[in-house]
């Protein structure tokens, strides 16, 4: 019967008396095979980051202002929504790290340099979770000089030989059948193994972003083939050249097209200025202006130090071009397809989909907290455990995940909850939860191949930047804040997850009650508290049916869900600010809770008193403040003659400049510092094309 059932369901007509068991087995294996070939589709995706900072040198305690540009080399937005910025010291120790929200492919952020940092050179590094899956070569990094103004100049450290920069020898001969060069703006292909005589057709394909954009048939005896494309005709960025012989792929090669259709120029209204004088700039873009859809630029004007120690200036154009110089020894990248290609077989990645698992998932909405649950004694992973996430001393919020077959969990923190300390705890598990523990995954970059910043004598640094240190200290005496958070328009109203379904009781509206049992009995309608051998039990009455639920409710104290209610017994009216009661079945995802009780205490919650060792603090803070840079205005005589000194090191910072037509006008006042100033403006056009311009001018009082 079953045989016929299977066959009828599959719609197969058997006309012969063939072995039906064999047929069923074949069909079953066909389905099994189809199911297991469900592979994760590999996105043709990459992320490039560039940070435009206001300066390259800082004094401890100052604010590092930056604008991060993120691009996917198309007009499409990048998927990542969280950017990590860190300052890395000489011995690869991370001295300061912060997370920022990415908005519309950019971050305008502030990084306060800690006062405790010792003088020296550092690396400023920026990356997203995407980059953590690959070699750190593609994260953004630049060198900084930081001076400690308290005289804590630090010691010179021995350089770890492993951290020496890897040198790339461009003259090395590689065992590649083809090479591609760009000469005088045109593409040339050279066959290192020349073709045999009377060879037939070769076809050459040029691919960009996974699509063939051009191809050409060539039939030639010489080893050098002129492809006939100029840089202008091909898209900017990485191009893949594939050589096929009789339709079979013979070889492939990457080449980087650095042609940029746009150029920025900058004009000041004068060559030299006095102190506290107005400077007017005109920024102009040349190129195919009519095709521009977006322009996103940032500008900084700084007072240059007495001597510029960092000779190599990084700008957005140089940075993006440098990403194309992939040393042959490091065959990797931050693009899955380049990684796969580096495995040797370039036929694979555009013709087949490979199962490539990302260790660090893309943070496409908010910060992701991840880790795994393990058995404390045996070290084995625990799958099927419920891990709850919430914030302490905050509005009640709850999210959860079930650990998978490898014991891992992933929880996404919503972008609206940023400056709060989060906690994870094991709520439930297939075994005793006291036997389980959580190992959190720290997002860390390996230190290997990080370029070693140049080492300087600390005393030498002090001499070079002495006027700037003095300027900063003078400014500090006058508590003028050059830098302010913008007024946040976000309402401070609290939104617990059960909003709209609760009744709130404030104990201060009643007589003082000495313990929680009295509070429940006297002022919490629909709640009952029982004490037995196992401790305190709570039940909530359904507001519709008038009967108590059989199971315990979800109880929050200061935003943290707790299971052990013994802590409650000692609370009295003076400890409690408010109690919210939800007398309905409350649903979070797949979990149904039998009512909710949320207690807000007047003081911070002390986790030690809960006897709950299973709370793990997580790094959940993400900066999303908007800041404004204030410029003094010396338009009036009173302001011009004011005795308040103006020794700012950063004279002007504007992270959002959009061109109107092909121009933008900028103006600002010089400070009281005499010397050389530098203007630097850079950014992206159409979210793809980097542009940069820089200019110096002098400020002298006696003109």
């Amino acid at each position: 019967m079953i045989r016929y059932y299977i066959i009828k369901k599959l719609g197969i007509n058997i006309v012969s008396t063939a072995n039906i068991r064999s047929l069923s087995t074949v069909i079953l294996f066909a389905f099994l095979f189809a199911s297991n070939v469900y592979t994760q589709s590999v996105p043709n995706y990459s992320e490039t980051i560039y940070l435009h900072t206001d300066r390259d040198y800082y004094i401890s305690g100052e604010n590092l202002l930056f604008k991060a540009y993120l691009t996917f080399n198309t007009t499409e937005p990048v998927k990542s929504k969280i950017l990590y910025v860190e300052i890395v010291g000489l011995n690869a120790s991370i001295s300061h790290k912060k997370a920022f929200h990415i908005r519309e492919n950019a971050v305008e952020g502030v990084f306060t340099i800690p006062d405790s940092i010792a003088s020296g050179s550092f690396i400023l590094r920026a990356y997203t979770n995407w980059h953590l899956n690959f070699d750190n070569r593609y994260a953004f990094y630049k060198e900084l000089i930081i001076i400690n103004r308290f005289g804590q100049y630090g010691k010179l450290l021995d350089i770890d030989p492993k951290l020496q920069e890897v040198k790339y020898d461009k003259n090395t001969v590689h065992d590649e059948p083809i090479s591609v060069t760009i000469k005088k703006d045109s593409l040339y292909l050279r066959l290192i193994q020349p073709p045999e005589k009377n060879r037939s057709m070769y076809s050459v394909e040029i691919m960009s972003e996974g699509e063939i954009i051009a191809n050409k048939y060539v039939s030639q005896d010489s080893d050098s083939i002129y492809l006939g494309f100029s840089k202008r005709e091909l898209p900017m960025g990485n191009l893949l050249i594939r050589l096929k012989e009789d339709s079979k792929l013979k070889a492939c090669r990457w080449v980087y097209n650095d042609f940029l259709p746009y150029e920025l120029s900058l004009e000041t209204d004068k060559l030299r200025y006095k102190t506290r004088q107005l400077v007017k700039l005109t920024v102009q873009l040349s190129g195919s202006i009519s095709e521009i859809t977006t322009s996103d630029l940032s500008a900084t004007v700084i007072v240059l130090p007495k001597e510029e120690i960092l000779k190599e200036k990084v700008d957005i154009k140089k940075w993006m071009n440098s990403l194309s110089e992939i040393p042959e020894e490091e065959r990797s990248g931050n693009n899955i397809h380049t990684v796969l290609a580096s495995l040797g077989d370039c036929e694979l990645f555009y013709d087949e989909v490979k199962d490539f698992k990302l260790k660090y998932p893309i943070e496409f909405a908010g910060k992701i907290i991840s880790g795994k649950v393990i058995n404390k004694r045996t070290g084995n992973i625990v799958s099927g455990a419920k891990v709850f996430f919430s914030f302490k001393d905050a509005v009640p919020y709850l999210d959860y995940d079930l650990t998978d077959s490898s014991g891992k969990f992933y929880i996404n923190i919503p972008p609206s909850l940023t400056n709060l300390t989060g906690f994870v705890q094991i709520w439930d598990a297939p075994m005793d939860i006291n036997e389980c523990e959580i190992n959190l995954f720290e997002q860390e970059y390996n230190a290997i191949n990080l370029p070693t910043p140049p080492v300087f004598d600390a005393e030498f640094l002090k001499d070079v930047y002495a006027p700037n240190i003095k300027a900063f200290e003078v400014n500090e005496l006058f508590s003028e804040n050059w830098f302010n958070p913008k007024n946040s328009s976000v309402s401070s109203k609290k939104h617990p997850i059960y909003e709209g379904h609760s009744n709130t009781i404030n104990p201060k509206d009643f007589v003082k009650l000495n313990n929680f049992a009295e509070i429940v009995k006297e002022i919490l309608p629909g709640v009952k508290m029982e004490t037995d051998e196992q401790g305190i039990g709570l039940r909530i009455m359904d507001e519709f049916h008038g009967s108590y639920y059989n199971d315990a409710p979800l109880v929050f104290i200061n935003g943290m869900p707790i299971k052990n209610y013994n802590y409650l017994s000692a609370l009295n009216s003076d400890d409690i600010l408010s109690i919210d009661v939800v007398r309905k079945y409350f649903v979070v995802g797949n979990i149904i809770f039998h009512g909710v009780l949320a207690i807000e205490l007047k003081k911070e919650l002390n986790l030690d008193y809960l006897n709950e060792k299973a709370f793990y603090s997580v790094d959940s803070k993400v900066d999303s403040e908007m800041y404004s840079f204030r410029y003094p205005n010396y338009e009036t005589d009173a302001a011009l003659n004011s005795r308040k000194p103006d020794f700012r090191n950063t004279i002007y910072w504007e992270p959002q400049i959009s061109l109107v037509g092909n121009k933008a006008e900028i103006s600002f006042y010089t400070s009281d510092m005499q010397g050389d100033y530098r203007i630097q403006i850079e950014g992206l056009i159409d979210n793809i094309y980097p542009v940069t311009v820089s200019k110096k001018f002098s400020v002298i009082n006696n003109l």
């Binding site: 199911s35 959860y400 609206s416 909003e499 709209g500 649903v587 995802g589």
Partner: protein, 235 residues
């Protein structure tokens, strides 16, 4: 004996077949469930003393919820409680969850005929004393915005005496039209639009198309035409 073995093998294979398919489906569901905001709300409990259907749609239709952070929860069965102004989604057969308003900014329901768009509006322009956000159906969104408040009210006479078990709910839709940030006082009367556009042009459109603004579809056609015009505030 051989027949018996064959039979057992076939049974085992069938069970395995079913297990593979359901496990794969479950694994895919869990994978898509992770890292997305989970719907939060309370289980809906119907007030049995009120006869009738408080939901806007007779059937529960597939739709999507657009969460506050822009993520979408797709392919779930939704309905709109027009009496309490709540969005609900169905889980496990007869159980429905009222989704918390803090979680979403809109939702779409795909009925047989068309897609219905709803948005959670908190703008005080709609009601000077708007205490909390309200769900409105989005009828038109161009330069002119038009919304419908799909509201059910209760006939209290039927609550007291209802021998035939009629539905106590009756529908009372109201409409909101916004032109250049200003709320139109009576969007279904022609005179309301004279302030923004030329009077004779409006009359011409109404006459030539034979439009009755009291009919929702005709009101929308009228607004679609106005949306192509430039606002010329009349003194």
């Amino acid at each position: 004996m051989v027949n018996e073995i064959n039979r057992l093998i076939n049974v085992a294979l069938s069970c395995l077949f079913i297990l593979v398919i359901t496990n794969k489906t479950k694994a895919q569901d869990e994978q898509s469930f992770r890292l997305t905001s989970k719907p939060i709300g309370v289980i809906y409990q119907k007030n049995r003393s009120q006869k009738g259907n408080e939901f806007l749609f007779d059937k529960w239709n597939k739709g999507e919820i657009i969460l506050s952070d822009g993520q979408k929860v797709n392919n779930i069965e939704l309905n709109f409680n027009a009496y309490s102004n709540d969005l609900l989604y169905a889980i496990k057969g007869n159980t429905a969850v009222v989704v918390s308003k803090i979680q979403y900014k809109g939702f779409k329901i795909y009925t047989e005929n068309r897609r219905r768009n709803f948005a959670l509006i908190s703008d005080s322009i709609f009601n000077n004393s708007l205490q909390e956000p309200i769900i409105l159906e989005v009828l038109h969104e161009g330069k002119i915005k038009a919304y419908a408040d799909r509201k059910f009210r209760i006939n209290y006479n039927l609550m007291k005496n209802n021998p035939f078990g009629q539905s106590v709910y009756y529908s009372e839709d109201s409409y909101y039209v916004i032109i250049e940030g200003e709320l139109i006082s009576s969007p279904r009367t022609i005179r309301s639009y004279y302030k923004f556009y030329n009077k004779s042009s409006i009359k011409q459109i109404i006459k030539s198309n034979d439009l009755n603004l009291k009919v929702e579809e005709e009101l929308l056609s009228f607004l679609a035409i106005l949306d192509t015009w430039v606002v010329e505030r009349q003194l």
